[in-house]
Assembly symmetry: C2
Homo-oligomer: 361 residues x 2
Amino acid sequence: MSRIWNFSAGPAALPQVVLERAQRELLNWNGSGASVMELSHRGKLFMELAARAENDVRELADIPADYAVLFLQGGATQHFAQLPMNLASQGDSADYIVTGHWGEKAASEAAPYVNVHVAAHSRDTGYMQLPPRASWALDPRAAYVHYTPNETIHGVEFHEVPDVGQVPLVADMSSDIFSRPIDVRRFGVIYAGAQKNIGPSGLVVMIVRRDLLERASRPMAKIFRYADHAANDSMLNTPNTWGWYLAGLTFEWMKEQGGLAAIAARNDAKAAKLYRAIDSSNGYYRNPVALDARSRMNVPFTLHDDKLDALFLQESEAAGLLALKGHKAVGGMRASLYNAVPVEAVEALVAFMQDFAARHG
Amino acid sequence: MSRIWNFSAGPAALPQVVLERAQRELLNWNGSGASVMELSHRGKLFMELAARAENDVRELADIPADYAVLFLQGGATQHFAQLPMNLASQGDSADYIVTGHWGEKAASEAAPYVNVHVAAHSRDTGYMQLPPRASWALDPRAAYVHYTPNETIHGVEFHEVPDVGQVPLVADMSSDIFSRPIDVRRFGVIYAGAQKNIGPSGLVVMIVRRDLLERASRPMAKIFRYADHAANDSMLNTPNTWGWYLAGLTFEWMKEQGGLAAIAARNDAKAAKLYRAIDSSNGYYRNPVALDARSRMNVPFTLHDDKLDALFLQESEAAGLLALKGHKAVGGMRASLYNAVPVEAVEALVAFMQDFAARHG
């Protein structure tokens, strides 16, 4: 077997051409005679790479100059904690909109640093719907409003940016960043673990309105202070250079794909194909999420008889379709359709699903 | 030019055979049909890789079962802050032995979380010596004693583990870990950024005595608590999977090299060759560090006339010798001789230095 179709929820598929380029230049990057991993982050060559990656992502996502772009470590989970350390003062409260597993986690990791107020949630629907905006109990004095535009496990996605007034909106975009155009000005902070739409794991990309950097008031080490990272161009300490390099190659690839609008059109088409296959299966396959909240990135689905699950996974893997097992919290299957998953992969999956249903009616 | 000799202080040279293997399997790791970067950290294949890397490093460094081995993120700098969060209670003090730039930084990042007591330092010598053990003002009630066995910038190294009694000894071994055998039982915590002797940047390896994990008492997010990382086999959140993979390959390579004793002998020989060339140059080259404190890993040296520095750097780079520029704090040159730098590289450097001195007498 050579390359398979990879539906992993993360770490996830990377663009084939990005991997091929990384492979070609792994031992000798950019004529340096060394791997990009072996070079000082403070050397001229790496500094150029780092600046180019930032410029490319600024162009790609139309990021205004009054927003900093940071390349950090720790995964989104660390920033669940580090964001309130930086954005809230002792005694402040913050509003959390909880629409799935990751929103829950963001709120619980924040709790030691800010008074967490769950302003809306959809627990009672098993996270199969989004709480209507009109039902949100927002506090105009909140330090910020945090939400999760796409929930990777539950397959629930916001298709519009919620209006939260003057309070800064903070979005954990780990699983749908750069999958469509972003109106950055609507946000105070956007952050994402790289391992779905940006690059390998171990890197976090954060887009933060510069005035918010000045908020950090409590005693903390410099390494936790975003303002210090911004002032040092994300080289306050040694960054994940390999991750930054691959993110840069992926940003280039996204530009070559036509940018975020073109990528969004492809993502819409991919998701539509898969949901159509599920919805037209006469109940053989089912997706439980409310129609207006279905995720374009993560599509959980169940088989009409869960005794077939093991066989489905075994046969799909043999057919070159990898990582379709659903998260244990929801069971069944899940296909993640991030940017780097090509239309052909979805077509292969749909064909397999139809064939499987025909053979195991 | 193909591959050069790389004397970078970090990110630094990786073993050539490790890079070649990573290149071969970059698009299809272990028959999976995917890159190792594209696989879920919770999948069977990656879990096996992770466990194998841990087993290999336990065997390599003879790590007892009552020590946990953690694969973390954030660089050593983040752990300068996170260690006191975990090892000290509010109001505790800790002893710091400051023998260079990184010891200074460890102390300053710890200050928001513990009362930092500098029990010994060598500032007055410009960090060219180590403070004699007899002069250390240790506090038997300290939460721990922190030191830096090797100072990357100043090229100063402890050649014995200091006896600090019953207080747990915490060592930032970033720049000399696995360069020689380690008597792990002498330490409470050993930690290291990977980017010198282990792998690429963005990974931290920590070896921690398990009873110390129970100390963390202050309110903090789970993601900052080492006990939670240990309980989750360093998969509390998505780890740096590429870094973990390369660390594993490097541990295998170190075992193939004959283990830490054999590696230490090679490192001693490499350093001896370079110091001999410096010391026998009749003052053309100079290393300012006290003889008994000279680092085997980082060798700073100056030219007798600093007007030749630029020419030395230009000619050495043209001769295929990379990254010899010294840190701005000490000036001149620096050659880092980590495990992956072969004897041939040192021989090439020595030959160049002698030739340069002959031509520019």
